[in-house]
Every structure is written in C-alpha cells, then in structure tokens.
C-alpha cells in the first residue's frame, strides 16, 4: 500500500495530465450519459487534488522536474513545475472540477443526448491539453498540448445548439490552427539556432546567441501565436462568436482556462525563455503589447456596453479583462506582473461564475439561439425582472459583476490594485488612469444588466420562472463565493502570484510587495 502511495506521490506531475487523457477514451467506450459524467467527475477532482498537492510540494520544496519514462532531457520529455505552473495548474483543474458539476443539467438541454459522452471526452482532452501546456518542460510539447486542447475545444464549441456554433467553431479552427502553427514555426526556429527544445536550456542558450535573427523571428512567431490563442485585440476575432454560441458550460470552462493558459505561454516565453534582456530591453515587446492591451481594455468594455446579448457582452468583457492581464505583463514591474497573474486566477473565477449564472438563465428559458424567429434566452430583454423570479442567479450575477468592476472586497479590486500599483511603479500614471476609466465602463455594462434584472417589469406574467436547479446554481455560487473570499482573504492568491512573478522576473525579486 505504501508502495502504491509512493508511486502516486512520485508521479504527481504526470498523473494530472495522464489521468484525464486516459479517461477520455474510456468515456467514449462507456458511452453512457451519466456514467461518463461520473468518470469525468472523478478524474477532474482527482486531478484537482493532484494539482493542489503538487502546488504545496512546489512551495515547500521548490521547483521540481519530472522525466517521463525515466528518460532524462535532452532525450526524454521533461515536465517541470515551478511556482508559476503550479498556480496555473491549480486554476485549470479547479475550474474543470467545479464546472463539471454543472455540466450534466446544462448539457441535457443544449447538447443532443447521444453526444454527451463525446462532450465529456472532449472536455477531458481539452483539460489534458491545458494541464499539459502548463506542465510541459519543453517547447515542442507546449505546441502538442496546445493543439490537443485547441482541437478538443473546437469540437466542444461545435456542440452548441445553434447552427452558428458550427461556423464559429470552424472559424476558430482555421485561425487557431494558424496560431498553433506559428508557435510550431517559432519552436522550430529556436531549435534551429540553439539545438535544444528544453525551456530551461533555451533560457540559458538564447543570451549567448545575442539577438540572432532566427531567434528574433522565432520570438515574433511565438508571441503572435500566443496572442491569437489569448485573443488579444486585434487578434480576437474568433472569440466573441465562439463564446456566444458554445454550450453554456463550455463557455464557462473555456473562458476561465483557455485564454489563461495562453497568457501563461506568452509570459513564459517572453520572460523565461527569451528573457527580459532580449525581449524587453532589446526588442521592447512591451511597447507593442502595452498599447494593444490598453486598446483591448477599453474596446472590450465599450463593446460590452452596447451589446444586447448578455453572453456576448461577457465575451467582450473577457477581451477587456485579457487586456488587464496583458497590461500587467507589459508593465514589466513586480507589482504589475503580480497583478496580471493574480488577475489570471481572479478573472477565471469571476468570469466562470458569470457564465455559469448565464447557464442558469439558459436552463430556465430554454436553449439560447435555438430558433431563428425568437430572441435567444440570453438576450437582455429576456432578463427583465429576473431579480424576482430567479433571485439567487441574479444575485450571483450582480456579485460577479461587482467583481468585474473591481469593487473593494472582491477579487477584481485586488487585481486592479496591483495593476495600478505596477503602473505607478513603472512611472506610467496614465496607464493607471486608463485602468480606472475602463473600470468605469465596466460599471456601465454591469449596471445595464442590473437595471434590467431588478428594475424592469417582466414582459409577461407567464414568463415568471422558478430558480435554476442547485446542480448549476451551486457551482455558480462556489465560484462567485470564491471571488468574494479571495477578495477579502487575499493572502493565498497574492502570495502565489507574487512567487510566480518572481519566477518570471528574478532580477526584480525583492522589490514590490
């Protein structure tokens, strides 16, 4: 028995990737709606426990390397977990675990019943990919896992109930593949000039090549590829449609994880692999990213104000929030980076909660975008007076919205606090002003929904509906609750994020919080 336990504890880094990967085909084989769900549920929770255990180990004992099959690099595949990875892994597995609880009720309505097992399989594969990206120790496996997660997410999006889900998925597929291939190209060029794929080795060898043209092109390819996956304006074209038409639970899952992992890739390559000396000091990538991020911040929020479909509104709000994260990265200060990384988790929590609240609404009003001749159930006019008939859902939405604005005692405030602090550290007060301006825009779009929820009369009496089932409402409140808890009890997230920021910016360690 103890032997078994030691096998498990020694293979923690691998297990969290392998478990969902093995469970995915199992789901296809089992082919039973509820049974596959149980399989997926057990596996995701196991992975979650695994990530937490791993994170604990990393914080106690420092970064750890795992050699797949016992082959040491450069021949074998290395999984390398440090403070940054552990943080991302915890977020991804936690979101997967919580979202999956809500999945069956929501799938029942939005996905054809003989495809549920496939949906769970794709879900698990996507999780595999995301966990893999976040734990891979070499550049090529980052690409492979990226493709695994992307391919399965195209499939998941295409499961959406409307025909527009198909076209959105196909668009995402083509653009996403371009992005993935750019990363592959960049990795090839890196290998060409350094002869290694291992991230740590790359980090050591790149300074020696001193801005070799091949490496520079590789940097551009990787950054552009990651930005497509990250949906940084103006490379965001695929995101609003994909989020709007995917099944509600899938949107909640992807919004909270996929873009976050892409952000991780971007940060990892810019700061660790290419190094601050090359990417920032020499080629000033931050000068390009910062304006784009600021535009994203304001553009996303402005578009969300006018958007009348709440799901799509949240998608635009995501663009804005991605802008915040990239701002944190492009400030290149300890506080800014901490803010960006902590926002990665914070935004994951609150946006996932908000999209699940939308899933609750969809459950009560019937599938969104089903018929051509009627409003989708996520249209603003459908939410009129919902504060009375669905008080818990509405309250969750309001709390998530407050977090989106950045009201104190919510996680949104914590992120923005560090971002503003970072802006001042960098001497860019105007960035801080823009962050506040964009928060003001957030008030407008959140208020728009609150006004409809609480101050508009329901269109008709028979439209009065009951509250959503607790299977969906529960996870929603877990996430909204977490976004309040971590808004007050900021120590765990902020400490992890600042440790992660130190990994990326070792030169600045000791400065800032």
């Amino acid at each position: 028995m103890s032997h078994l336990i030691s096998i498990v504890t020694e293979n923690l880094p691998m297990l969290q990737v392998v478990l969902p990967m093995l469970a995915a085909p199992l789901c296809v084989v089992v082919h039973h709606r509820r049974a596959t769900w149980w399989v997926a549920l057990v596996v995701t929770w196991a992975s979650f426990a695994n990530s937490v255990a791993l994170a604990r180990k990393v914080y106690l004992e420092g970064p750890l390397s795992y050699f797949v099959g016992g082959w040491e690099p450069p021949w074998g595949i290395e999984l390398r977990i440090d403070e940054l990875n552990a943080f991302v892994l915890c977020l991804v597995s936690a979101i997967c675990a919580v979202v999956l609880i809500a999945a069956p009720r929501s799938f029942d309505q939005e996905v054809e019943s003989d495809r549920h097992h496939l949906a769970y399989a794709a879900f698990l594969l996507c999780m595999t990919g995301l966990m893999g990206i976040a734990s891979a120790g070499d550049a090529f496996n980052v690409f492979v896992f990226l493709e695994i997660s992307s391919l399965s997410s195209y499939g998941l999006i295409a499961l959406g109930p409307s025909r527009r889900a198909l076209s959105s998925a196909l668009r995402y597929l083509i653009v996403g593949t371009l992005g993935g291939t750019f990363i592959l190209l960049g990795v090839g060029l890196l290998y060409m000039s350094t002869g290694t794929l291992n991230l740590v080795d790359l980090q050591q060898r790149i300074p020696a090549s001193d801005g070799h043209r091949t490496i520079v092109v590789a940097m551009v390819c990787v950054v552009v590829g990651a930005c497509i996956k990250l949906a940084l304006v103006p490379l965001h074209g695929w995101l609003p449609d994909a989020y709007t038409f995917a099944p509600s639970v899938v949107t909640a899952f992807l919004a909270a994880t996929a873009t976050k992992v892409a952000f991780y890739v971007l940060a990892r390559f810019l700061f660790s692999v290419f190094g601050v000396a090359s990417s920032i000091d020499r080629f000033h990538v931050d000068w390009v990213l910062l304006p784009l991020a600021l535009v994203a911040m304001v553009y996303g929020a402005a578009a969300a104000i006018f958007e009348r479909d709440v799901k799509r509104m949240l998608a635009y709000s995501s663009l804005s929030q991605i802008g915040y994260m990239v701002v944190g990265l492009a400030l290149v200060t300890k506080s800014g980076l901490t803010g960006g990384i902590v926002h990665l988790v914070n935004h994951g929590l609150m946006k996932c909660g908000l999209f699940l609240a939308i899933a609750c609404v969809v459950l009560r009003f019937g599938s969104p975008h089903l018929g051509v001749q009627r409003l989708g159930s996520t249209h603003l006019d459908r939410l009129r007076g919902l504060g009375r008939s669905m008080p818990w859902t509405s309250a969750a939405f309001v709390l998530g919205g407050l977090s989106m604005i950045g009201v104190p005692a919510t996680v949104g405030f914590v992120s923005k606090w560090y971002l503003v602090l970072g802006a001042f550290e960098a001497g860019k007060w105007w960035v801080a002003a823009l962050i506040l301006f964009s928060s003001a825009l957030a008030i407008a779009y959140v208020w728009k929904v609150v006004e409809v929820l609480y101050f508009a009369d329901p269109p008709r009496r028979e439209d009065e509906v009951g509250e959503a089932p607790w299977w969906v409402l529960g996870p929603t409140w877990v996430l909204v609750g977490a976004s309040l808890v971590f808004g007050v009890w900021t120590a765990p997230t902020v400490r992890m994020a600042s440790a992660a920021a130190e990994v990326l910016l070792p030169a600045l360690a000791g400065a800032g919080p």
């Binding site: 592959l184 060409m192 051509v372």
Partner: protein, 128 residues
Amino acid sequence: MGPGLYNYWMVIVLMMTGLYVVLARPNLVKKIMGVTIFQMSVIMLYITLGKVAGGTAPILIEGAEDVAYSNPVPHVLMLTAIVVGIATTALGLALAIRVYEEFGTLEDDEIRDAEIADAMAAEAGGAD
C-alpha cells in the same frame, strides 16, 4: 542561391501559398487546404533543419565509426506534428460538412451574411 537554401525557399513558397489561400479563397474547404499547406511548409522546415550535409539515416551501424547521421529529433517531432495536422484537417472537413448541411453553402462571406440575418431575425421576432 546555393543548393543548401533550396529547401528553405520552398518552405517560404509553400508557407506563402498556404496563407494566400486562407486569405484569398472564400471557400471553406479551400481555406482548410490552405491551412494544411501552411502546416506542411513548417513540417518541411523541420525536416530540412534536421538534415546534416552528407549525413545518412540515423541508424547505428556496427563498426562504422565515422558516419555522419542526420539529426533524428526533428523527424520524430514531425511525426507528432503530422498527426496533429491530420487531426486538424479531419476535424475541419467534418465541421465543413456540418456547416454545409446547415447553411447550404461553403462560402465564408455568404455564411457570415446568413449569420447576421439570423441575428436580425431573432431580434425582430421578439421575446417569443
């Protein structure tokens, strides 16, 4: 232009061809093909950079001491990349079939117009 760079030029030609097809052709299947060509160009790049001048296949031969081998790693990597490429193409084509069933066309801009029409019809249809 030495012969050593020939492959790289072809990589660039293929890459540009692929991207051009994605951009210029509204037909979704052609776009998928464009993406595939683009991927192939990158695969060719990897294969090319693994080649060592005068090198032979990386199979250990007993007794042959001074044989130059080509680098096997990029080849191995590309096995995975090809699988990824095939999966992408397959999924893309499958989606294209479903899109055609639903929209009755494969032209990107026509699909877009149909989607906008969907949205407007829903808005006009009202809450019920």
